[in-house]
């Protein structure tokens, strides 16, 4: 068994040589601003709104979305973290990973509109696990999903309500989202893939 070194800042895997930026810092910031407005429009305001980021990189994205919403509405909204490690269906097939803490706002999620925030939507299995985790924490009035990048190839009938960028990829490509809070830089990069 090996555990990640928790004393170090969160790990940023090395960027492969053939990586290309598909979103710049400005693109990410504009996408998040648009998603923030979409969430408010869909919810008809910021009442009963709770943003839950999925670790690792969904958490800073959730905080940024909350800042966008606060600047528009003039009041703070609740932000939390939802770790889904204990609900994954692929634990047996991957190296051990440390379970991070789940932080739910004090007033809970019963009757709230929960917006899950993640960096990349791919197979949909993470979101399936997040829905299972949510159901044991309470009964939200509605659950929505906001992602920075939707790269397709869903294994499950799950779709996002708010998408920063639809990014058609092949399965052998790799999409890396970097956020300045963790990696020191804002970027979405794509690498790998045949014939490149």
């Amino acid at each position: 068994m090996t555990c990640p070194d928790l004393s170090a800042p969160a790990p940023s895997p090395p960027t492969p040589d053939d990586a290309r930026d598909v979103m710049s810092a400005g693109d990410i910031s504009r996408a998040l601003r648009r998603i923030g407005h979409e969430i408010l429009e869909r919810n008809k305001g910021s009442d009963d709104l709770v943003l839950l980021g999925i670790p690792t990189r969904g958490v800073p994205l959730a905080h940024r979305l909350a800042a966008v919403i606060a600047s528009v509405e003039g009041r703070e909204i609740e932000v939390g973290e939802l770790d889904i490690t204990l609900y994954r269906d692929d634990l047996r097939h991957n190296p051990m990973r440390v379970a991070y803490r789940t932080r739910i706002p004090d007033k809970g999620i019963d009757g709230q509109v929960v917006v899950l925030v993640d960096d990349v939507l791919y197979s949909g299995r993470t979101i399936r696990a997040a829905l299972d985790a949510l159901s044991e924490l309470g009964r939200p009035r509605a659950v929505r999903l906001a992602v920075l990048v939707d790269r397709g190839h869903r294994d499950l009938p799950i779709r996002a309500d708010h998408v920063g960028k639809n990014l058609p990829t092949s399965r052998d490509e790799r999409v890396d989202v970097r956020v300045s809070e963790i990696d020191g830089v804002d970027a979405v990069r794509i690498s790998g893939g045949a014939g490149r």
Binding site: M1, C3, P4, L91, M96
Partner: protein, 326 residues
């Protein structure tokens, strides 16, 4: 780290910190309405306790159940052991039922290591004789870190029946791995033989005089009182219980002196406590006492240990070999 947890020395500092970090998220579960997560669904854990236990056995059972594993409790009395079956046959029998983990408490030092060589499943040491009790050391470290943060440079004093104590043996290893400075105190009759060479290699201090240590130049951050284990004592290790209390018990007076030097000092005891012998009732119920926090941490830490041993990719090895291979 292997797929067994036999000794605290099996765990590197990175392993320990990973387990304690997971334990924090497990501890959050205890405060929820629905405490069960599906993480170990389909796994079977057998708790085999050849010695009596309240908190270790119940916390291992709760830990397994909250992770959705199926847990079964066996004790020596009421199993085939009372008909004279050997440890090896019993262990192989349980292993043949394709269980995923065997949690063992046994009166013989080294029993868990032996069993781990006979079976295919993970073996977790829940206390073997006078050898080790690694999950107790982990939950003590967890309790300490919750209250006083990182243990680097912190001074922990362990007092009591060192000769018979597996809690002490696991704790000196884990605390040293986390960077704490440890002083162990016992009357000469209860100090293990050969401890001088051991304390040099593992870097802890030894003393026969509790009051000198408490008044020494090194302020105490936590004091861990060990139980006087009457069931393991065959001879006269000390003249009377009263004399032990005067020399080595945590009395009201000693606690007051500790608090006067460090208001945030913590009192730990692995339980069950002999009130009035190694720890006065005043000290056991003082605000500095974290005895019940240790129990509460026990479930979270044991969940983390089960998770780290059973959830990863190597954990499928108990499945029988391909059909026909036998």
């Amino acid at each position: 780290m292997s797929r067994h947890l036999i000794s605290s020395a099996d765990l590197s500092r990175t392993d320990i910190e990973g387990i304690l970090a997971t334990a924090e998220s497990m501890h959050d579960l205890q405060r929820r309405d629905v405490k069960k997560v599906p993480t170990l669904r389909g796994r079977t854990i057998v708790n085999f306790f050849f010695e009596d236990s309240t908190r270790t056995r119940s916390s291992f059972e709760i830990a397994g159940k909250w992770l959705s594993a199926d847990t079964i409790n066996l004790s020596a009395k009421g199993s085939s052991t009372s008909k004279g079956e050997s440890l090896r046959d019993t262990a192989m029998t349980v292993s043949a039922m394709a269980v995923d983990a065997l949690v063992i408490r046994h009166g013989a030092s080294g029993a868990c290591r032996q069993v781990s060589q006979w079976v295919r499943c993970s073996v977790i040491n829940a206390g073997d004789g006078m050898h080790e009790h690694p999950t107790q050391a982990l939950l003590d470290a967890y309790t300490l870190r919750t209250r006083i943060g990182e243990l680097d440079g912190k001074h922990v004093v362990i007092v009591g029946d060192l000769t018979h104590s597996r809690v002490f043996r696991s704790n000196v290893i884990t605390l040293a791995a986390l960077g704490a400075r440890v002083t162990v105190v016992a009357p000469p009759t209860l100090m293990p033989s050969g401890i001088d060479a051991w304390s040099e290699t593992d870097g802890f201090e030894t003393s026969w005089d509790l009051d000198t240590v408490l008044a020494g130049g090194d302020p105490v951050d936590a004091v861990m009182m060990l139980r006087v284990q009457r069931e393991r004592m065959s001879g006269g290790y000390f003249p009377t219980a009263r004399e032990y209390t005067v020399g080595y018990g945590l009395t009201r007076d000693r606690l007051d002196r500790l608090v006067a030097r460090n208001a945030d000092v913590l009192v730990l005891h692995p339980g069950p406590m002999n009130r009035g012998l190694e720890i006065a009732a005043d000290a056991a119920d003082a605000p500095q006492s974290v005895v019940l926090e240790q129990v509460s941490a026990g479930v979270a830490v044991r969940m983390a240990v089960l998770y780290h041993l059973l959830a990863g990719e190597d954990a499928g090895s108990t499945r029988p070999a391909a059909p026909g291979a036998a």
